[in-house]
Symmetry: C2
Subunit: 201 residues, 2 copies
């Protein structure tokens, strides 16, 4: 055993700092030196925990995605009606993303990178892609339950699943541009209401 363990809190601190810096300056422009300073460690130390800037970026992606997937899994395991689950799902994920705030700005870059990778035909599916696939499955399941329970009309599950996820993304993107929280809350209520009305039998 080594006399001193690598500080297990440092990776988290580095990720936190990296989220801050990347959100402010962009992933490409964000400097490792700034991340180190933000985390109150030396630049070299960053490389004790991560091999490259790229790896830090991926760690951020993992954190963000798995937060969303975990929260959704937890929610859908609860004893609620499909309709309640779906409503809560949309509100919850929108709010998760709000709270991440800085992380949200990085999401756009994750998206751009993933889209580019897919366009290039990179066989390796991206983290983002995998995460969304999981979310799609979960949502799709709830929609099916809802139809069986006769809470929802019959529908093209794939289409409505896309609609629900698009809803979240779209709202968050809109919010990023306006940053008007009050208007946003009203819009969210109306949006969820409209969407649920569209799924009624």
């Amino acid at each position: 055993m080594s006399p001193l363990q690598k500080d297990p809190t440092k990776p988290e601190a580095i990720i936190r700092a990296a989220i801050h810096v990347f959100a402010r300056d962009g992933v490409e422009r964000g400097k490792i030196a700034d991340i180190a300073k933000e985390a109150n460690i030396g630049k070299g130390t960053v490389y004790e925990y991560f091999n490259s800037k790229e790896q830090i970026f991926h760690a951020i992606v993992d954190t963000v995605i798995s937060d969303m997937v975990d929260a959704t899994q937890k929610l859908f395991a609860m004893d609620l009606s499909p309709k309640e689950k779906l409503q809560t799902f949309m509100r919850m994920n929108t709010e998760i993303i709000f709270e991440m705030d800085d992380a949200m700005l990085i999401m756009t870059e994750i998206w751009a990178q993933s889209a580019r990778a897919i366009k290039r035909g990179d066989a390796a599916k991206t983290d983002l892609y995998d995460g969304f696939e999981k979310l799609r499955m979960l949502v799709s399941g709830v929609l099916k339950d809802g139809v069986i329970a006769e809470e929802f009309r019959d529908m093209n599950f794939d289409g409505v699943t896309t609609l629900c996820l698009a809803f979240i993304d779209g709202f968050v993107y809109q919010y990023m541009l306006t940053k008007d929280e009050e208007a946003f809350e009203r819009a969210l209520v109306e949006g969820i209401h409209s969407l649920m009305k569209g799924l009624e039998r």
Copy 2:
């Protein structure tokens, strides 16, 4: 008199090339040298028409945004019912964005940049912000017309406007990840159907 005019087709060619290169490599990584090569001109010539990489990027933004706004204005000037206008609006803009393809990948970076600028509190509103403000006004107007014409239920206009725009963004983003055009078409039909159903009286 100058013996030779600057070629008025070059700026367009440069922008086209830049869209291609930026979409492939990202705005930050995309090299001016590559843009020049793609446009079949010398690197120096690029700087005859644009002062900086930044300026090229902004020119792209302008092109993309004004395409969307122009098309929407044209559509809404047509002799159609509000409901037809709204349906067509959503389908049309989604398709505009498809056709831009490469430009779409750059949109994510525009978004990221705008969001960062707004977060920093840059007084100067971004091009993207202005463009979306125009779209919001247009859509909002059609919704109001629809309520007056008793085609739509009463609603929170702001909320539904956000929903409609979020719909477009969200669908496009989802599509960028899947690139399955057939599934996408089905999803789009279902999405528009659901949304319109949600607005029924």
